[in-house]
Amino acid sequence: MAEFLFEILAEEIPAGILPAAREDLLARVSAAFADARLGGTLTVYSTSRRLALVGEGVADQQPDAESEVTGPPASVGYDTDGNPTKAAIGFAKAQGVTVEDLRVATLPKGPYVVARKVTPGRPAGEVIGEILPALVEKMTFPRMMRWGDGTPQWIRPVHSVLALLDGLVIPMHLFGVESGRTTFGHRTLAPGRIVTMGVADWFQKLRAAHVEPDLAVRRARFQEQAQSLASEVGGEPADDAALLDTWAHLVESPGVVRGSFDPDFLALPEEILVTSMREHQKMLPVRSSGTLAAHFLAACDQIADPKGLIARGNQWVTEARFSDARFFWDDDGRTRLEDRLPRLGKLQFQETLGDYLRKTGRIQDLAEKLAARLGLSHLDGVLVRAARLMKADLVTDMVREFPDLQGVVGGLYARRDGEEEEVWQALYDQYRPASADDSMPRGDVGCVVALADRLDTLTGLFGLGLAPTGSKDPYALRRAALGVVRILLDRKWRLDLPAASADAAALHGALPRQRDEMLKELSAFFLERLRFLLEKKGHASDVVEAVLTTDCPDLADAEERVEAVEAMRKEQDFLPLAAAFKRMQNILAQSPVAPGGIGEPDPAKMTDDAEKALAGDYLQAKGMLDDLVAKRRYKDALSIMASMGPALDRFFTEVHVMAEDPEVKANRIALLRSMRDQFVRVARFSEIRG
């Protein structure tokens, strides 16, 4: 068994692609080692300049491989006396075996001459040297780079390739670079050449040269240092696992410096300071007893900062950014949001759908229509105000500088302008929820305008035929639809979503797509998001399916039905009900509706006891079911339905639905249809798996 070491030293690899590149390299090479019968366990290492693999228990030599090659049919290979013909002799020669090594095998197509060949295993180093370059060179990245004469293509130029098997160099060329046993230390701290004898030596020498190849070690060291530097000033580093991950990918030698900034900057809104630190400077803010402290923590690719130069540089940058933000904050403050509206007329939302001023107008109209549908018309005044101002922050310098803060900036400015709380909060929260886990807008006003904005975007772009396809969703429509669904579920708002979508579509006027068809597609799009969310909440996929295959204009109602079915499912008499529903469904599927339609079941026409019993139970319960469903007391409705299980069972055992007498038959079908239609108001139980 041998140890394997492979390191590619490149120019700085983007931190964003390293997680995928690590996985990809490990998977490719592990699979190739298995295919080549080399075995072993591989582990991946990386830094900002390196991708490396360490293998343990790799075979020194491939085991021999046996294989059989099919030659001519037996009747051609041997004469009637069983002697090999020229054909068999030629075949044996071509395969490099003797005629004695041939045999006749019975294949599906008949008896054939086969040669049994043994391919001797080759030394592992030779095999690895052959397969590895192609595996690496074929890695793909979101944005490939060409270098040198323009031919090599990878993520960044490759400078050295270290490849050792049990300390011996595996010869190969990667992008024209010859493999060897050398690598280099940290770019600025120990840039010299390092000669490596094996895995342990590599770790030891890299670490001595200020390179920590283990991602987890770097991350842990960052976390420790951040914690201890923050606690020295009586604070805590902001909790940000994603930023720590990024830090760990950005360096070879993990270090943290703490800096301070002028506490006067704390007068700026915290959102702006935090975004500036996190997004622009990749810094961790420091909090002490819940509030932002005038300190920051910055990652660096350094062991120490004895002269405080790094801290001072970062402080200078932070204060420069903050001064910039303060300039925008003050300068933007000279123009009220209200007075910025004309400039929205010059900011395009979408070529055909027009500028943001027009969008704002549509959002206002739609917000009022939504309020009417939701019984919130008393909010019309604040809704229109919020809708009117909600996009005005797009023409501020602050949003130009901090695009991630759109909405938030509008809210902060509206508050400063003296807008009512409901209004500024609506602006602040308008892009929430931005994901399946993000928080909601705080109040009704925020939720209504957030819905109106998204419905306007969705109906507009669907109307233009720009619905997302596959992984392409340039207008983030999936996120918009998910936001709509989450808000409706969270507020438990009873909204007829297709009707509200139609309101939104009407405000666009004529668009290329036929409107009804587009709306149908959009409804299905919403249901997809709803399905995703319900399953994410832990509901069983068949229960979700059972509800979503019924008519679901009201998403919050659909969720309630899912919850009721889910609860009911655990009860004993539920499965028989589901089975009975399936039988109803099957029978009804074979019974096309007569031209005269289906009447109500008539107890007077019933002949059979089991039939009468079922009809008795059902017709008595029907009024109650109607009432319960109307009040959305689905669990109660379901238990009444389940209580009919025994009567249904008896009916199916004793009654022949397809009776000779057409009237009797029609009456029985009418009974089943009426029951089925009643049940389907909650769920299509045939979707439930036993």
Binding site: E12, R146, T151, L250, C300, L309, I310, G313
Partner: protein, 302 residues
């Protein structure tokens, strides 16, 4: 260190690495990349090494001299090397040493930052170089220019001179840094900033600039038809500047924007093709006559 010392040191350093000391282009540009010594020279197989200061104008960045970091007119120190030397990152780090920065005492990082110019039909991949958290350089490997895939690959290194000087002097306002001993940047430039900001945002005659755009565009086309690459390119640059003025003035409607950018790009693409054809017709005169590496007078082999 003052601004002019920085320029002198960078010039001396890159000249020692075999760069021709180019001079600023005399047409308004938004970035050093638009200088023909970069945009045109990255095209085709001929080796090229140049360094120069390029004053750049971005009317939309105007702040009337009130913002300590934003300027309409700023200066870039631009280095282009084709093909990019294998040790270009080391050469770059050495340039910082030449400025008196000891990399062992600082935090130096190359963080991904790709570059794209829709008006030039150009893009590249690379990094922003961060020194102690401050972006001091844009480092780009050109991949395409004027819609043409490039080979060999050029490296472009752009130092933002004002920011770098501010950072090295730890000044909070660009107007406080010294341009020369005893003369501040503010004394040299602050009134200019006020005037060009006011012009771009308030005074520029949009209909004149619209007319100019159309006529520069037509003139560029006429030059191309006459086989005159550089005059055509100059007029394409003037179109780009006219667009920037119109944009700052708020005179480009959102719908027009895409169309206007496309019109400039079409000129840039035609210029790029015409340049390559012209160099080819001249037999790519800067290609080495033998198979030897490109001419160098530098110490980079040392």
């Amino acid at each position: 260190m003052d601004l002019q010392t920085l320029i002198l040191k960078l010039s001396a350093y890159w000249v020692s690495k075999g760069c021709l000391l180019e001079q600023p282009w005399d047409v308004e540009v938004g970035a050093g990349t638009m200088h023909p010594a970069t945009f045109l020279r990255v095209l085709g197989p001929e080796p090229w090494r140049a360094a120069y200061v390029q004053p750049s104008r971005r009317p939309a960045d105007g702040r009337y001299g009130q913002n300590p970091f934003r300027l309409v007119k700023h200066q870039q120190f631009q280095v282009v090397m084709k093909p990019a030397p294998d040790d270009i990152q080391d050469l770059y780090v050495e340039s910082l040493v030449a400025l008196g920065i000891d990399p062992k005492e600082h935090d130096l990082r190359f963080e991904e930052d790709n570059w794209e110019s829709p008006t030039l039909g150009a893009w590249g991949v690379g990094w922003q170089v961060l020194l102690d958290g401050m972006e001091i350089t844009q480092f780009t490997y050109f991949q395409q220019a004027g819609g043409i895939d490039l080979a060999p690959i050029t490296v472009e290194i752009t130092y933002g001179l004002e920011r770098l000087t501010m950072f090295l002097a730890k000044q909070r306002s660009v107007y406080d840094v010294e341009w020369a001993p005893g003369v501040t940047y503010g004394e040299a430039r602050k009134q200019d900033e006020y005037e060009v900001s006011k012009y771009g945002f308030e005074v520029a005659d949009a209909s004149l600039w619209q007319t100019l755009f159309d006529r520069f565009e037509a003139e560029s086309g006429r030059c191309l038809d006459a086989g005159l690459v550089l005059p055509a390119y100059d007029f394409a640059l003037k179109c780009s500047h006219a667009f920037n003025i119109l944009d700052a003035r708020g005179a480009v409607s959102a719908t027009d924007r895409v169309g206007v950018i496309r019109r400039v790009r079409e000129l840039a693409v035609r210029c790029a093709k015409a340049y390559v054809a012209s160099r080819e017709a001249q037999g790519f005169p800067m290609l080495p006559k033998t198979a030897a590496p490109p001419p160098e007078n530098g110490a980079e082999n040392g």
